[in-house]
Amino acid sequence: MKFVDEYRDADKARALAAKIAGLCEPGRQYKFMEVCGGHTHTIYKHGLEDYLPEQVSLVHGPGCPVCVIPMGRVDDAIHIASQPDVIMTSFGDMMRVPGSGGTFFDSNAEGTNIRMVYSPLDSLKIARQNPDKHVVFMAIGFETTAPSTAMTLLRAREEGIENFSVFCNHVTIIPAIKAILDSPDLRLDGFLGPGHVSTVIGCRPYEFIAADYGKPLVVAGFEPLDILQSIYQLLLQLRDGRCEVENQYSRVVPWQGNVVALKAMAETMELRPYFEWRGLGFISHSAMRLRDGFAEFDAERVFSMPGVRVADPKACQCGEVLKGVLKPWECKVFGTACTPETPIGTCMVSPEGACAAYYNFGRFSRQRVKEATGA
């Protein structure tokens, strides 16, 4: 398939892997964090770790927008969906995220009408088709999906649609990266920057990571060769003693970002003083809410919300996994109490979460498999 297979070429991967191995200083361990859940998914789906020398390990970051939604927000969403004449819409991977009483699927079994949409604009279509219902879009995601929510809000106002609102859970990536950088037990040598987020915000917002924290960052694409090349670029920087923000994904990411998208976001949304992230706790200025000018479209103002915080079980070690202190399987409840069917912690929730990716794709001993497959 064009524009896909080129980035999955095994010969090129072998060549890059050799160059990566050549850049590793003997006796030194390298730990890089891939910020984005999409990267985590690619790494496991293609078995990319088989190409990395043992000296290089990847730490899976906080960039899975589904995983970071706290259980209390899921409960709030179900509360809204349980009001009479409400149709709620959200993205597919939200459907299986549990709140304290279960998932959207469970809630639908009890009578709510929560539908999967592929774009927030589809929610507007549903609102037009169902004038006697109120349609609430549960918006989630980083700067990647926020512009499409913003455009939907602008469209709704332009068309004068009155039976539509947004339950806004958009989060921003930079405060989360900063929270990880500020954590005392952190041990990272560099970052693979989130590709899709960067198409919107550009590369400049990462400059403080290199300047203030002394960690190199390479904005990376989502195909396996993109990731290998980005690791190569990080190792090259470390060898040369450089510490910069580089853009490996330049075929998609402009250095300045997408001005139109940023403008639409600024017009409709503003930063919240603080927001709770599953696994990371409360982070200041890390999420967005609708501006006062869009109050009529703000589900948090249209409906009364319980807003009850749901605590993660104490045994859950997602925070440590997210910071790279623990590998997924080192968590005490991994794979037994916490599985993709009953995800106790954030990292097991979405297929992009580190633990879910390891559980679904990587749950075997690489040594045993090498012997079994003769690789």
Partner: protein, 384 residues
């Protein structure tokens, strides 16, 4: 934010977890292996339905379906004919061996490129018999119709059923009609039950798979599932694709006749090829090693799956099956399949190994390795 509460389901999972054994010691490699062994034990525990109500995941063919079937149905109905949970049950009747199967059809939309619910209902049941090694003979059909459903549409469905039954050499010998109130059904639901005859001295079964065996598919995977997804019109993607719904009795017969080392066949409907391979790995306590490059997938199917973040290995087919054959007869099996029009694009996609037992491993086209597990529910599109 003064109030705070706990999630009861999570507390319960933790209690069960603490009741099980715990603690790991040893070097890093050893410790990871201990954790993996612990997970393996947890997965082999008796399945338990945790949900209080049925959700859509229970119908998706993955882990939730398996749990429901084993914990509710098998537990209650248990007998030697049901227990293998094959595509069809084997019934000893005097000296003959009969195969019996049943399937319900609730596809939406009812009409789609390449077929409709009618031929799907006939082919689905014919195929469950055929892959069990039986010659399909008789079919029953139950119609559950919604008030207001158009008779012209019903006629179209019935005429496709007639054509499909004729092609498969089966007779529709009994049936039933029920009408439900408007809003209680989706136009038309069908159930078909089929009876076929088994060869007297041939036993197939996925539990007979052994290391060294070859794994084949009878054609490109995922056509039906992707066609249906696109036809629902939620995606606004157009592709030149048709459902693969087809009767497989001819193809299965050819394999039975030409390949004495045939161990098992399974049609890759709900849950796709990946689910079948997991069933094989579990039933025979072997590993299944699949070469991603070797799995035939049409470009249109791959493209749609890429866009949605879905793996074609999990997408339903209605006219494809997985065959396990003695490794020495892999070439013969491939030749036999390819000699039939429906099997022209058949391929050997992997082999059976012995380690790690119970797991399906995929050698990715990129050159890495990963496992292919059962899905929890329907494959869901990812947001990024």
């Amino acid at each position: 934010m003064s109030t705070e509460r706990l999630a009861p389901w999570a507390e319960q999972a933790m209690t069960e977890h603490h009741a099980a054994e715990h603690g790991t010691r040893g070097g890093p490699g050893e410790r990871e292996q201990q954790v993996l062994d612990r997970i393996d034990r947890a997965r082999r525990r008796k399945p338990k339905v945790r949900e209080e109500r049925i959700t859509s995941a229970h119908g998706a063919g993955g882990k939730a379906t398996q749990t429901l079937v084993e914990a509710v149905f098998l537990d209650a109905f248990r007998n030697s004919m049901l227990e293998p949970l094959g595509d069809a049950a084997e019934l000893p009747v005097d000296s003959a061996r009969l195969a019996m199967t049943t399937d319900s059809f609730v596809v939406s939309p009812l009409f789609f490129p390449g077929g409709n619910i009618g031929d799907l209902a006939v082919n689905g049941t014919v195929n469950d018999l055929a892959v069990s090694g039986a010659t399909p003979r008789y079919l029953s059909c139950g119609f559950i119709l919604e008030e207001g459903f158009e008779v012209a549409d019903l006629r179209r469905i019935v005429s496709s059923m007639t054509a499909a039954a004729e092609a498969a050499g089966v007779s529709l010998v009994t049936g039933d009609t029920k009408v439900v109130g408007k809003g209680s059904g989706d136009g038309c639901y069908l159930n078909t039950t089929g009876v076929g005859t088994l060869d007297p001295d041939r036993t197939l079964g996925i539990h007979t798979a052994r290391p060294g065996d070859a794994v084949l598919v009878s054609g490109p995977v995922g056509d039906h599932g992707v066609t249906i997804m696109l036809e629902r019109g939620e995606l606004e993607i157009d592709a030149d694709l048709e459902s693969d719904t087809a009767p497989l009795h001819g193809l299965c017969r050819r394999l039975l006749d030409d390949v004495p080392g045939l161990r098992a066949m399974r049609d890759a409907t709900r849950g796709g090829v990946a689910t079948i391979l997991n069933e094989v790995a579990r039933a025979a306590d072997v590993s299944v090693v699949v070469d991603e490059d070797a799995v035939p997938v049409r470009a249109e199917v791959r493209g749609a799956c890429e866009l949605l973040g879905i793996d074609p290995l999990y997408v339903a087919c209605e006219g494809r099956f997985v065959a396990i054959v003695d490794g020495a007869e892999a070439d013969a099996a491939l030749a036999a399949l390819r000699s039939e029009p429906l099997g022209r694009e058949a391929a050997v996609i992997g082999h059976i190994g012995d380690d790690p037992p119970g797991l399906v491993l995929l050698k990715t086209a990129f050159g890495g390795t990963r496992i292919v597990d059962l899905l929890v529910g329907d494959p869901l599109p990812r947001i990024c």
